[in-house]
């Protein structure tokens, strides 16, 4: 699937659940992001129409929350923790390693849309430092070998799927 191809019917199905419910903007955006992996910019106007808002208002909400992205993300989103505890435990090296392994800078997505690399201020799991998340899974007490194994595992899974 090429995430840059926008499927209007899929969007209409998501929007249909929230028609005319202005309060539902954030849950709706979360659903859209769940379905598409990001908020396709083309979806802003249909969403605004359905909730009787201005498109610029919807954009304002999307751009305010870092949890929403207007750019397509990879199937696996890596969030490397850059909090104090992780920093002390060497997260800088972990990040450098991952960058090198994936060939990505922070905020970038690989061309095949498998990986997106992000950093976060703290994942709230300092006792596992250094940590990262891949999609919804935590990986703690990281070291170079473990990072390599985790990334390798995801590459393998992705190929099989």
């Amino acid at each position: 699937m090429d995430p840059t191809q926008f499927d209007r019917e899929k969007l209409a199905a998501v929007i249909g659940k929230y028609q005319d419910k202005k309060w539902a903007l954030i849950p709706l955006l979360q659903d859209v992001q769940e379905v598409f992996g990001f908020i396709p910019p083309e979806s802003i106007e249909p969403i605004a129409d359905a909730l009787q808002m201005f498109p610029s208002e919807v954009q304002g909400v999307v751009t305010f929350y870092s949890g929403f992205s207007l750019k397509p993300k990879g199937r696996q989103v890596l969030k490397v923790c850059r909090g104090t505890a992780c920093h002390v435990k060497g997260s800088r090296t972990i990040l450098r390693m991952i960058k090198k392994d994936l060939g990505l800078e922070e905020g970038e997505t690989s061309e095949d849309y498998q990986f997106t690399l992000e950093t976060v201020a703290c994942l709230g799991a300092c006792f596992l430092a250094p940590t990262m998340m891949v999609n919804r899974d935590y990986y703690g007490k990281l070291n170079p070998t473990k990072v390599g194994a985790v990334l390798g595992e995801y590459r393998k899974e992705d190929k099989e799927a």
Partner: protein, 894 residues
């Protein structure tokens, strides 16, 4: 609920619960500095500079968003408060670029003022200017968002006042800025360039682009806008005697509040156009035998006018002279103009330029309601129970009225839009009725409103939605229209209109039991099926008991600022001042007594009759004030040929128009901002104003010219002041009893309205638009928001022309495809009607139905009238007649 008592700066103040501390303080003349607060916007609390201290608790609160609470002990100016305020301003300035010296906001910058008052000079902070790209691609607004302090006034004005939604905050923290959708430049967004945000912006982040002036104007003066019928109150910035900037007036209870539209805000640069007339001109022979217009003195020009017209009158009688007044000139001027025609030159051949465009509808409404519907405050739209918009987009014709409607809809007022085109209004939250099931939707576009209104009425009646008490007490139904409703099947009626039955039922359910504000297009009677549409709308209004009651009834937004006033002043062949019927001996006697002069009994010639009389050779002279018939009337070739035949033409105008070029004498006049007078706006308000700037060169206010002319013709009355003219108007036209006592006064309520019964119109006939294979498309000649009328003024605005000077023809995607037009290249197309043809670029107007073409008028080089049919103008939209604004055409690529 009990009032709440607080102490502010030691003073006990009592206010109702919910009052903000800021409002309570301001009401008691305690001033608190603000940047993001505005009386017309909801409290927001963005800038925090209005913070105050509660001495009881030590809390610091933003006073603009904190309601008063019992026993608060507020200090608005303590050392602590000042210290915090200073810090806020220091932080704002640290982020602000140091470009004050070239900033056009100059001394009006509120941030600068706040800094000055708090004694903040050097911030002693590390400067961190937040540079953003400087946007100046559009000709109206310069956006320098590095100067933005994020007060959100622009965004809130956009959302709350004009309800367009072009901008909102985007991003977060340091990178947060007001942005359009996808961060596009303004001209690629839905922005209408009303400029409301520019007037609101406290800093130089948003400013007016101008080639003439940058900075603070020397002085500010009050005037009323000279463009559309809204008659917005404006604060005119003047420097060196010239108008250099316009903002909405800060007066209370104006029609526009803090808003304006693109014409009002930006098109005034036509005032500085090189085409302004600065001296009188007389046509004279040159040495080589040719003739040309040559500079003259006012004395010579007026002598020539009086001499020649008197001469023609002596030889050919008074009926050989015609007078065309102006819906752009003031009440006082139109009064003098028709008085000169009737008293000095003894003819009823006097009319005004809007006779066939707006005035016709005002007159029809007057006839049907006995004058009970002249006063229609636009603020009533926001209080209306329901709104029905019929075939017009006020956002383009009278934008300020459009804002009122949008605000009402944002406030959950039900709105039904009946329009074959998906206008901005149609896509704004209401229910849009259009001929979706009619493949010939474009051809039947103007029949559609008749059927849709009929289907609505039938459906409302079938749901027992008729206001029987009102119908019984206030109406008559000689043709049995209500009975005819019960014989109709609402679903069948809906199908005939091409609408799903369920949709009509839904629309009806939105309106049942409600008084309706019906918005009609000003040119309705000049459209195909115009009369039937009016009747259908009028019947629906009576059925729902909506006429003669507040916040409901018929709303007509006139295109020219003084359409109503010119009519009221008697610039009509059959009406004397005060809308007195010239044929009625009693009415005539009142005016005759006041003027001490016997008046002609028969009605004079109207606009089109004058042209025909000129063709026939019976009209010999024409005096045209503030009008350009060669550009504004249908079939300009025919008009030119007719005017050529005249012996003598006087044109009194502000710019050198096409008609001025063929005149024998040209008299240079002052524009609205350069004179004193009053306009009567579309809501029935008489709005008085004084001069704000100097008229250019020798030009004079029209009333001065007319007064000199009367003197020259030997008329004994000396009209040396506006007040003198007003006294006469007040005496003759009781409607204008309140004229001039304040800046804004309402027309007097009509006495006849209460006793008269309103009459239902007969059911419409079944005529449909005729199929015509040689002219398969329907064209509508209309205005887009950038231009007004024939464009004598707006097309001379450098800013408007730079942005929207092309006047592209709007076509539907279906038609573009079926004609094989490569629309992306903006191809030139030829539009041909039975009358003539025009060539212009075409583009897709996304909302248009197939078979429908939109021809904008008013653009530079406007030639739209070449396809309009003069004879259709004569007939109006009578009995399915074509009407001159709606034309059968074909389209080819050229």
């Amino acid at each position: 609920m009990k009032n709440i008592v607080v102490t502010i700066n030691g003073k006990k103040i009592s206010s109702p619960p919910g009052t903000t501390i800021l409002a309570a303080a301001e009401r008691n003349a305690i001033s608190i500095p603000t940047l993001c607060s505005h009386a017309e916007l909801a409290p927001y609390g963005a800038c925090r500079i209005c913070l105050v201290e509660d001495r009881n608790t030590g809390r610091l609160m933003a006073s603009c968003v904190t309601p008063v609470a019992q026993d608060m002990n507020i200090a608005t100016d303590s050392d602590r408060v000042r210290e915090h305020r200073k810090n806020i301003v220091r932080l704002m300035i640290a982020e602000h670029p140091e470009s004050c010296i070239v900033c056009s906001k100059g001394n009006r910058c509120e941030l600068r003022k706040a800094a000055a008052e708090l004694g903040v000079a050097e911030t002693r902070l590390y400067p961190m200017p937040n540079y953003k790209p400087f946007e100046t691609l559009n000709p109206f607004i310069a956006r320098d968002l590095s100067k933005c302090i994020l007060c959100g006034k622009c965004i809130r004005a956009d959302h709350e006042l004009v309800a367009v939604g072009a901008i909102d905050y985007s991003d977060r923290g340091f990178s947060s800025r007001p942005a359009t959708l996808y961060g596009r430049p303004l001209e690629e967004s839905v922005c209408t360039f009303c400029g409301t945000c520019v007037s609101m912006c406290p800093t130089g982040a948003l400013s007016t682009r101008s080639e003439h002036y940058a900075g603070t104007p020397e002085k500010e003066a009050y005037t009323v806008c000279g463009f559309c019928g809204a008659g917005c109150s404006m604060a005119v910035g003047v420097s060196g005697g010239r108008v250099v900037e316009i903002n909405p007036s800060e007066d209370k209870n104006t029609v526009n509040g803090p808003t304006l539209c693109v014409r009002g805000h930006f098109a005034h640069d036509f005032l500085l156009s090189e085409d302004r007339l600065t001296t009188p001109l007389i046509r004279k022979k040159n040495e080589d035998g040719t003739e040309s217009l040559q500079t003259a003195t006012f004395d010579d020009a007026l002598s020539s006018v009086v001499g020649r017209i008197a001469d023609i009158k002596r030889h050919h009688g008074p009926e050989s002279i015609g007078f065309i007044g102006s819906a752009k000139c003031t009440n006082e001027e139109n009064y003098l103009f028709q008085k000169i025609a009737r008293v000095i030159f003894e003819t009823n051949n006097v009319t005004n330029c809007q006779e066939r465009n707006g005035a016709s509808l005002l007159r029809r409404i007057d006839e049907r309601t006995g004058g009970a519907a002249r006063i229609t405050p636009l603020s009533g739209l926001e209080k209306a129970e329901a709104i029905v918009v019929v075939g017009t987009d006020p956002e383009h014709t009278v934008p300020v009225a459009g804002y009122h409607i949008r605000r009402a809809v944002r406030n959950k007022t039900p709105m039904v839009v009946i329009d074959p085109s998906r206008s901005g209004m149609a896509s704004f939250g209401g229910l849009w009725l259009h001929p979706e099931n009619n493949e010939e939707g474009g051809r039947d576009a103007f029949r559609f409103a008749v059927d849709a209104l009929g289907a609505l009425a039938t459906s409302i009646a079938s749901e027992n939605g008729a206001d029987s008490q009102y119908i019984g007490s206030a109406t008559e139904d000689p043709d049995g229209w209500i009975d005819s409703l019960s014989r109709e099947n609402p679903d069948a009626h809906a199908r005939a209109a091409g609408i799903d039955a369920a949709k009509i039922r839904k629309a009806a359910s939105m309106l049942v039991g409600k008084k309706i504000a019906l918005v009609l297009p000003p040119d309705l009677l000049e459209r195909q099926f115009g009369n039937q549409t009016f009747d259908a709308a009028f019947n629906l209004a009576l059925l729902t008991g909506s006429i003669g009651v507040q916040n409901a009834g018929l709303f007509v937004f006139t295109l020219e600022n003084n359409t109503a006033g010119a009519l009221d002043m008697g610039c009509a062949p059959d009406l004397l001042p005060g809308r007195r019927n010239a044929a009625d001996p009693d009415e005539r006697k009142i005016v005759e007594k006041a003027w001490e002069k016997a008046l002609p009994e028969t009605a004079g010639m109207g606009l089109l009759e004058m042209i025909e009389a000129a063709e026939a050779g019976t009209l010999k002279a024409l005096y045209i004030m503030g009008e350009n018939p060669l550009r504004s009337l249908p079939n300009p070739e025919r008009i030119a040929a007719a005017l050529e035949k005249l012996e003598f033409i006087v044109v009194q105008d502000i710019v050198r128009t096409r008609t001025a070029e063929i005149a024998d004498v040209v008299l240079p006049a002052a524009a609205f901002s350069e004179k004193q007078g009053s306009f009567t706006n579309t809501e029935g308000r008489i709005q008085s104003f004084g001069p704000a700037a100097q008229p250019p060169g020798d030009s004079l206010p029209d009333w001065n010219i007319l007064a000199s002319l009367a003197r020259k013709a030997g008329y004994p009355e000396q009209y040396t002041t506006i007040e003198k003219i007003r006294q006469e108007i007040r005496r003759i036209a009781p409607l204008y009893a309140a004229m001039g006592s304040h800046r804004r006064e309402w027309l007097k309520k009509s006495d006849t309205g209460g006793s008269k019964r309103f009459c239902f119109a007969p059911p419409p006939g079944p005529e449909k638009a005729q199929k015509d294979d040689s002219f398969p498309l329907t064209a509508y000649i209309g205005n887009l928001r950038w231009h007004l009328g024939s464009g004598s003024r707006t097309a001379r605005s450098g800013r408007i022309s730079a942005g929207y000077g092309a006047g592209r023809i709007g076509i539907s995607r279906t038609d573009a495809e079926s004609l094989g037009i490569a629309i992306d290249d903006l191809p030139v197309v030829r539009i041909t009607s039975a009358t003539g043809s025009i060539e212009r670029q075409a583009e897709i107007f996304p909302g248009l139905p197939a078979g429908f073409v939109f021809v904008p008028s008013g653009f530079s080089g406007n030639d739209a009238m070449r396809i309009a049919d003069f004879n259709a103008a004569q007939a109006g939209g009578e009995n399915g007649g074509q009407g001159w604004r709606t034309v059968r055409v074909r389209m080819e690529t050229s």
